[in-house]
């Protein structure tokens, strides 16, 4: 097997970790609150700016900056829910989709206003691992490991804790949950916070690899939605698997052709799969 093909396979796997984390957050929001946050990747952009400013500009220690970024984005998630989603919970789904789309515009432009359109990076150069003739970026390895840990922690929380059970229950039957003594509003806020927090975590991992600029969200936002839909909206395991399928298509497609063609292939595969299995790849129905 071609060593460079193997390298791009591994890079695809590593990219898949971060995409899976994003897909988990978006799927959680969708499964529980039943809205699609089109601006999800823009929340990630906000988190990346927080890390950049605290660490790259004010020279805070990275872990502290990362922690604050996660908390900030989690708070943004709560704010987004309170200000935008809560008033239109009963509206047609498409209005909710578009309202968060308006937020996408707002966040992009606001970031442009505050920071300009320059590309920034945190100035951290992580070593590159050389295995044979392959070179694997250490930043990607860390990102992958942290993403898998984050996903695992989310799984344990949802499966074992009372609140996690309540969150899963509300995704299954919105009507009955109130009778069980669960405050729906509180669960929604908590879910938004967790969804935001996951975006914040993803931001910390992405800022290690990519420069931050106001439009960075557009470069992985659409692919995240595709992953969620492919996995079946709200189906977390499906989203997790789909993330790796898509990232491999992008990475290997990029290896054979070019970066853009790789992404085009991923979108085309997405469109084709929607026609074949509109309910998601892992759905049993």
């Amino acid at each position: 097997m071609d060593i460079y093909l193997l390298e791009s396979l591994i890079n695809g796997l590593l990219l898949g970790g971060v995409l899976a984390l994003l897909a988990l957050g978006l799927n959680l929001i969708f499964g529980v609150i039943d809205v699609v946050w089109i601006a999800y990747a823009e929340l990630v952009m906000c988190g990346m700016y927080v890390v950049y400013w605290l660490h790259g500009f004010y020279h805070w220690p990275l872990p502290l900056a990362a922690l604050l970024a996660i908390l900030t984005v989690a708070a943004l998630g709560v704010l987004l829910h309170q200000l935008i989603i809560a008033p239109i919970l009963g509206s047609p789904a498409i209005n909710q989709l578009l309202a968060t789309g308006g937020l996408l515009f707002f966040l992009q432009s606001f970031a442009t206003l505050l920071f300009g359109t320059d590309f920034h990076n945190i100035g951290l150069r992580l070593p590159i691992l050389e295995i044979g003739e392959m070179s694997i970026s250490f930043a990607r390895l860390i990102a992958f490991a942290a993403a898998v840990l984050g996903a695992g922690a989310l799984y344990l929380f949802l499966a074992k804790s009372f609140l996690g059970t309540a969150i899963r229950a509300i995704g299954q039957d919105r009507g009955i949950i109130g009778l069980m003594g669960v405050d729906q509003r509180r669960i929604y806020l908590l879910t938004s916070a967790i969804g935001g927090g996951l975006a914040g975590l993803a931001a910390c991992l992405l800022v290690l690899q990519y420069d931050v600029h106001p439009f960075i969200g557009l470069s992985f936002g659409p692919i995240t939605f595709m992953i969620c839909v492919l996995g079946g909206l709200g189906n977390m395991l499906g989203g997790f698997v789909a993330a790796f399928i898509m990232s491999e298509i992008i990475s290997v497609g990029g290896f054979y052709f070019s970066q853009e063609i790789g992404e085009v292939l991923a979108f085309v595969v997405f469109i084709a799969l929607i026609f074949v299995r509109p309910q998601g790849i892992l759905s049993r129905s």
Partner: protein, 326 residues
């Protein structure tokens, strides 16, 4: 009959506008409003029946790039190039639309499939950078003397005439669609697809027809826009960004009324220009920041748009008491 007068007066004013316009800049803005108003109208033809496409950027880009590439590389006049772009956009709409409607991909899923389409278009244009100039964009080759053959004019009044005809054509299509039986069928489909099918409406055919019309008009608008601004860029003519811009302007104006999308164009373009002129380049992004906030507020508090709100207000006024019919 009596309702005709204000329309005719408005039309006369529009025809006379180039000679009344205070400046070339003013005319430029009006042309932009007419072209985008046409494109937003095209989108609303689908949007008002619940077919929310987030992928109209793909059709826009197809129209603009087909004509631009044919002109630059084969010297083919835009008079042929734009129809080729329209045909390609219709083909694209067919390839995506038919399976979508046939397999009942609706709501979120339809929106996201079309979103993927917009990205496919943008990325394909960027990937074909040898031809299209990639993200840097491309300029249709200029001609030494302005001509109808090249569809390039130094005098903006020519473009104004073309844009006005295009816009009026858009309104005409809107009225034709609204008066047709298909409109009732599409409304029934947007209420309840299953029930519509049960009373004998051919769901796939009805949806597909309006989608093809909408895609064709969008590509047509894209083609003329490319000729007017003489610069094609994948980010402003395809992809998610412009697709969302189309959706939002149409919604802000009001996608359920004939003039709503045009009001959306007036609103967004005038607001954008006003903010750009007053803030200058000092505060890049200020215009869009305010725009974004307005969009969110619009969708939350007045989802039927400005024109929709005005119409609702007018209707809410107490009607004169009618004598009971004997």
């Amino acid at each position: 009959m009596m309702a005709r007068a204000p329309w005719l007066a408005g039309l006369a004013a529009l025809v006379a506008l180039p000679w009344l316009a205070p400046s070339s800049y003013f005319l430029h803005i009006v042309i932009l409003i007419l072209i985008w108003g046409f494109i937003y109208t095209a989108w609303s033809l689908m949007g008002k029946f619940g077919l929310v496409s987030l992928g109209h950027g793909a059709f826009l880009g197809t129209g603009a790039y087909a004509s631009g590439l044919l002109w630059n590389f084969a010297g083919i006049t835009p008079w042929l190039g734009i129809p080729v772009g329209v045909a390609l956009a219709v083909l694209l709409a067919l390839v995506i639309g038919y399976p979508c409607f046939r397999l009942k991909v609706i709501g979120h899923y339809f929106a996201l499939v079309t979103l993927a389409l917009a990205e496919v278009a943008r990325l394909s244009i960027v990937a074909a950078r040898d031809l299209t100039g990639g993200s840097l964009g491309m300029t249709p080759n200029g001609v030494p003397t302005p001509s109808w053959f090249a569809l390039q004019f130094a005098d903006k009044r020519y473009f104004y005439a073309l844009a006005l005809v295009l816009w009026l054509f858009g309104l005409w299509v809107w009225r034709r669609v609204q008066a047709s039986i298909a409109s009732a069928a599409l409304e029934a489909i947007s209420e309840d697809e299953g029930a519509a099918a049960a009373i004998g409406i051919h769901v796939t055919r009805q949806k597909l027809r309006i989608t093809l019309i909408s895609a064709a008009m969008t590509a047509l608008g894209g083609g003329l826009y490319g000729q007017f601004v003489m610069y094609l860029n994948p980010d402003t003519l395809s992809g998610v960004g412009v697709s969302l811009q189309i959706v939002f302007a149409a919604i802000a104006g009001g996608m359920y009324s004939m003039l709503g999308p045009t009001v959306g164009a007036v609103l967004t373009i005038v607001l954008g220009e006003a903010l750009r002129v007053s803030f200058g380049t000092m505060w890049i992004g200020a215009a869009n920041t305010i725009y974004g906030i307005l969009l969110v507020l619009f969708i939350i508090y007045m989802p039927r748009g400005i024109v929709g709100l005005i119409v609702a207000r007018l209707r809410a006024q107490p009607l004169p008491i009618r004598r009971p019919a004997l």
